[in-house]
């Protein structure tokens, strides 16, 4: 490639820019096919996702030893932004921008720990009456000579007086990243991480990008493998809690899972040039088309309430609570459920030839309802709106096997 006409005269910097652009283009074209393809990855993703859900029910910042000071209300926005970055990892379609998101997420958390530590330190040094509320980044207390406890020692047992902790370290960062990932639990996160390693050779991931990628990989590994010992619980208590958590998660799971597969089925590669949406749900919404820089600027936007988001292309949508919802499905017996489905989804298995004109308005109404549901779900999961026009006539079943195929 370097010998061909448009590239032949490039210098090293120009060449690396070109290579970057080509990588971005090629990988974003392949992205959905690779990440969303069925296979071992999907099963692992689902296992990871449900494990996150289960752990979330009983693992808190205390179990992970997230520094106490970092949980202050003033850092709520920081956590939201960090989670938002985690979600964006799944929204971007090229490895470099995914990496940037990871990097930003870790930096955000790192800075938070630093600030938290400095606040605590300042509080300890200042008179107990006055609480520091200024950003301590401007004045990191304790010069080079005075070595003091910078790192929040709340979670530690016995910080010795001579302990030299000049700043936050990986000891604090890793628990925060784990907690953040556990809380965000974006769909198919493992596949997205794998995508980075597959499409970006290690030689081109350097410095803090490489480090933060490793931190995130280690967080994934921790979540997958952690047991009673790591969380400081008794083995029995852990098993018990995990089982309860799994059950609790499973009762919520079917809907989410169904929705996820719907989302995947309807998901088709989307142009990067789509019009940016102004406001989006923070914790759950990812912005595929916003630059990563934007989030650092407005962490407030990230904490906007979920659910109040207007969908772009589908104008008058019934709100979720207006949709006629079914009887509690989880409580119905299997046979009753089947009967219910056959009644309600009456067009699902119909032969096109058997449709009458009189049924068309009803069919259309149901179609609208379904699209509205799928779209709001896709939105909530951070997926692009379903592009049903590209489905093949044999239906969603075929499309779910090869998403994006026309």
């Amino acid at each position: 490639m370097q010998k061909c006409h448009p590239w032949a005269k490039l210098d090293a910097a120009g060449w690396s820019q070109e290579a970057e652009a080509v990588e971005r283009f090629v990988s974003s074209q392949l992205h959905d096919h690779v990440v969303k393809a069925a296979g071992a990855g999907r099963a692992a993703d689902e296992a990871f996702s449900s494990r996150c859900d289960a752990l979330c029910t009983f693992v808190g910042p205390a179990e992970l030893h997230v520094p106490q000071a970092a949980l202050a209300p003033r850092f709520k926005d920081t956590w939201a932004t960090a989670q938002d970055f985690i979600h964006r990892v799944t929204a971007y379609k090229d490895p470099f921008r995914k990496l940037l998101c990871i990097d930003r997420c870790c930096r955000q958390l790192y800075r938070m720990i630093h600030t938290a530590g400095a606040v605590e330190r300042a509080a300890r040094m200042a008179a107990p009456a006055q609480l520091p509320d200024s950003e301590p980044a401007a004045s990191p207390a304790g010069g080079g000579d005075a070595v003091d406890n910078a790192a929040p020692a709340a979670a530690r047992d016995s910080p010795s007086p001579a302990e030299e902790q000049s700043g936050p370290s990986a000891d604090d960062l890793v628990p925060c990243v784990i907690w953040c990932l556990l809380r965000s639990n974006p769909p198919r996160f493992r596949s997205h991480l794998d995508f980075i390693t597959r499409f970006r050779p290690p030689s081109r991931v350097s410095g803090s990008l490489a480090y933060h990628l490793t931190v995130l990989q280690s967080a994934v590994q921790f979540i997958e493998r952690c047991g009673a010992e790591e969380l400081g619980m008794g083995p029995d208590a852990f098993e018990e809690a995990l089982r309860a958590g799994e059950e609790a998660a499973a009762s919520r799971q079917p809907l989410a899972k169904q929705l996820q597969s719907i989302g995947d089925a309807f998901d088709t590669p989307k142009d990067d040039a789509a019009p940016p949406r102004a406001a989006e749900a923070g914790a759950s919404g990812a912005r595929p088309d916003a630059a990563p820089e934007a989030a650092g600027a407005g962490p407030g936007a990230a904490s906007a309430a979920a659910g109040a988001v207007p969908l772009p292309a589908l104008a008058p949508l019934p709100m979720a609570h207006e949709l006629p919802f079914s009887p509690p499905l989880s409580e119905a017996s299997p046979s009753a459920l089947e009967a219910w489905k056959a009644d309600r989804y009456r067009f699902l298995r119909r032969d096109p030839a058997s449709l009458t004109m009189a049924e068309v308005p009803q069919l259309l109404a149901e179609y609208r309802h379904m699209v509205a549901t799928c779209a709001s779900i896709a939105e909530a999961l951070g997926l692009p709106p379903p592009d049903v026009a590209q489905l093949s006539p044999d239906g969603a079943a075929g499309a779910s096997e090869t998403p994006g195929a026309q």
Partner: protein
Amino acid sequence: MAAAASASFKLVLLGEGRVGKTSIVLKFVRGAFDDKQVTSSDASCLERTVSVGGSTYKLNIWDTAGQERFHALTPLYYRDADGALLVYDITDVKSFERVKHWVTELRRMASPSIQLVICGNKADLERSRKVDNAAAAAYAKEMGASHFLTSAKMGDGLKEAFADLTKRIAAIKGAGESAAAAAPGGRRGRRGESATGPAARAKRSSRFVVVDDDAAEPAKRSGGCC
């Protein structure tokens, strides 16, 4: 061209929580940095360029979480690392046991060419020392690692430890490379020194630090290196 890094090495810091891993890096880095800059950037992953034996190398120093419960994650960090700095607290026997554990693990799992340096940190707390220095040095020698006493608080022994590690990695790598790399003995040439010194110093503002070879040599001996 002497100031341009001829190679970049990845180093990992291993050690139990609270032994002062991070402090070591920060202190090592502070020679050329005021701490405002250091602490506002991510101190768990730092890049420094050092000059050893007339050649310049870029060091990527990766911090790891030292807590016992994150132990299983460390392989992710030390895979394809060129060197490891194992830190223990001379006032804490348990932390030295952890170091032994890691040495065994690294010898088994990590790349066979990985170079190890063991640092007995908090050397300023000599009074409350619990780990026998001679025993630690003997252990390090047996394992083919260097042993240094460091104090992140006073800044003692840090340059020596990093210089030694860099030198040994360079020697290993240099065996397969061309003449530019440092000779195994780390013989410093006056010419090389005068060429790199000012140039690298001029770059200090852009995150460069020079490890002075002169300081490294004698202190290494007194530090109980093997």
